[in-house]
Symmetry: C2
Subunit: 211 residues, 2 copies
């Protein structure tokens, strides 16, 4: 994920690291709006002012770029989860759920890509850089899911929520939460605060947390 | 969607209509397991014993086939919805929710493809047969969503569930329901009856229907 200094020798504008971040930002926009499948990697190259060869210096392929977007998205979501997951279940769970709606516009666009394309992490890739990024994305998604499952299981053990299949409850909570990003748009009629006001009590109800 | 008789002149095995159904079944399997993006249309041709030219007789492209799978999936879901949506909200809503888990293995695999790939219906296609199938899939999805929204709005009007933004509630209910098909496998450890026992009360709770 480090910038590559050799490439910046004549570029007066952006350091390689910033250029990489620019590619990721533009690709996230394309993947979210045009769809990953329909995005032409050459269009991303044009949009960031790079030829295919220079772009290849940063990313082997569209697929590698996608997996790195997923890695960054899940890393941030996991850090946010851990930051709010403090103390007793009855406080931690609502805090974690509410916290998962605190997303910048950029993070919301990235969450949209993550939710739409995360199925791709299940399929091994032949190219090494793609495969490395895929394996990392996959393991982070598993870690994120395990975080929710352990939290919910702790709530059951403490008798705060009814006992249920923890895997199934984790899927229901994450599935409902993730579905937001399929339709939410930063420029849409609802702000994320309003979306959270609507979804948070329903996510608590799915887990069976008394109001 | 009609079979084309000219193609069957020497084929002793399947009528064109059955051949088309076979292609759809095999493609659904591939799209669900390998992922739509990673499925090679030529592999589907091989699996059904057709060359690319013969396959083209049935479907212009992988994309057209996908859209027709979506069309069939939403048509069936809509028919099932209407069949259960009878009488007062307090009876109709639980019946519709429960009924949405009555799926054969084949229908469950199709639902998986539908949920994973329905984002593609938002993007116009240049090829006419693709575009026709896309527009039909898109309009059916809108009709299906409108069915849920009207039902939920009727429950609010009748005072059976709390007043809420009907679009948001529709998204929450359908989003939670759809998330099942991302992980459910006919050959997995849980049967659809167990999945329904878990999800149905939680979907009713999302809408705020008293137990």
């Amino acid at each position: 994920m480090s910038g590559r200094g050799e490439d910046g020798r004549t570029a007066p504008r952006l350091s390689p690291r910033n250029k990489r971040a620019e590619i990721v930002a533009v690709a996230t926009e394309y993947f979210g709006e045009t769809g990953y499948e329909d995005t032409r990697w050459a269009d991303v190259a044009t949009a960031v002012g790079l030829g295919p060869t220079a772009l290849y210096h940063y990313f082997e392929s569209k697929q590698q770029c996608l997996f790195e977007i997923l890695v960054e998205g899940v890393e941030d979501a996991l850090a946010e989860f851990l930051r709010h997951n403090q103390g007793e279940f009855a406080e931690a769970f609502p805090a974690v759920v509410r916290g998962s709606f605190e997303r910048s516009d950029r993070e919301a666009r990235r969450a949209r890509v993550l939710v739409a394309e995360q199925g791709l992490v299940r399929h091994p890739r032949p190219a090494p850089r793609e495969e490395n990024a895929r394996v990392l994305a996959f393991s982070l998604i598993k870690k994120y899911e395990a975080g929710w499952r352990d939290l919910l299981a702790a709530g059951m053990s403490a008798g705060v929520i009814p006992t249920a299949d923890p895997d199934l409850l984790t899927r229901a909570v994450i599935g409902t939460y993730n579905s937001v990003w399929a339709w939410y748009r930063p420029e849409g009629r609802l702000g994320l605060d309003e979306v959270a006001d609507f979804y948070v009590p329903r996510l608590l109800a799915i887990a069976g947390l008394p109001e």
